[in-house]
Amino acid sequence: MGSVFQIIGPIMVGPSSSHTAGAVRLGLASRAIAGGQPRSARILLHGSFAQTYRGHGTDVALVAGLLGMTPDDERIPDSMKWAAEAGLEVHIEPADLGDVHPNTAKMELTTASGSIVEVTGSSVGGGAIVITRIGKFDVAFTGENHALIVAYTDQPGVIARITSLLATEDVNIATMNVSREARHGTALAIIQLDQAASPELTAVLSRMNGIRSTISLPPLAVS
């Protein structure tokens, strides 16, 4: 059932829920996936994002999200200045990303440790988003739930071990999306959860046989 606060709300910086508030949330999701504030960001804007980004402030909204600002943060219009202060180098360009939603951005992020993370996502209306690609993997991540992003080696039993570990903490899986680079290659699981997984669980998960990395994400901000 919809809350009255979704109708009289959210509180947000304008002008557009899809092109501004949704863009902030795409930046926030990408920041979380990159494991924190990146050192540099090359942002490719597609379709309506490319055509209207100046008027809608889609560019500054994405950067604000990468800096960890929420959609109601009044610093959003000045996010380029804040990025410079925070040591985040930004490059924005319109691009054709192919057969994707008209409001799509691809962010090529260089993390603090120097690795490259590529995140593609779409703002699908009313501030809602879907992250559609992380690196080489097709995903479907909305940021509405708690989530775990687990990179692992494709081999029998890994998914079973992950899900039984979640069961021990009584954490319910809302959706699970698994894809792999190649047989026995790297695989990625996006697991959206009804409850948060504890830091202890995430730590145990990270040490499991076959697991390469684990990122635990809280739901993305709404106000």
């Binding site: 109708i7 009289i8 509180i11 947000m12 910086v13 304008g14 002008p15 557009s16 008027g55």
Partner: protein
Amino acid sequence: MQAISLQELAASASSLGVNIGVLAREWEWQETGEPVESLNERMRDRLQVMRDAVARGLGGGRSRSGLTGGDARLMRQAPEAVRAIGGEPLCSAISYALAVSEVNACMGRIVAAPTAGSCGIIPGVLLAVGERLGSGDDELIEALFAAGAIGSVIERKSTLSGAAGGCQAECGSAAAMAAAAVVQLSGGSPEQCIQAVALALKGMLGLVCDPVAGLVEVPCIKRNAISSSVSLAAASMAMAGIRSVIPPDEVIDAMGAVGRDLPVSLRETAGGGLAVTPTGRRIAKEQLRQAGVEA
């Protein structure tokens, strides 16, 4: 929100002897377990953001695209003889609605009510009438809960999205929600509130969404002001005891059906209406050039 129809919403409120806002808050508490004081505080925050946006917008300022800005200030500073044309609370409602919509276009902070594109109408109408009636914050907060309840029903039965239903779904719904809120604030019954919804929405039926250059500015900002006048007219009629011949729930259904019948070019795609007039096209071309995209 438990109500699936306006009829049910008004009947439940009447049978409990409360207004629609109080009922909506009660239902929110029942569904989320969040205490009433906390719900009130969250709505109070929204009321404050609305007031801050009005104050900021009346001060002027151009939008990011450079297309709009300063009209709220012009309306506010208009001479008494000019303001007498519309009178009060209409002139204040117009200037406040312009103010909030201009703040939205300037990347300022607003409350999407129900959307960012239609964010000026509810604060414009509610704050203007509230000033005139001397309403307290508690009453304004209850009126916002009422507006939210109406919006919930519209969303469930039809749509609040311009891309799905055109501007009637955004500014039309906002005008209807604001009309109900103002009727409640003026001491009208729940039945009068939903009659105001029907009267406002009927006046907005078929309104297309045709943003110039795809931006939430032209004609959105001034449509927020015009929609406020529709809202006040509907609230006045409902308070006088005028009833819609077509029942409120059927009007909402009709709005949804009209939205589905609207061509895609008139649903937020900038492919029709004002967006494709010679001036609309010229502005779009200039915006694209500034963005570094080939027109």
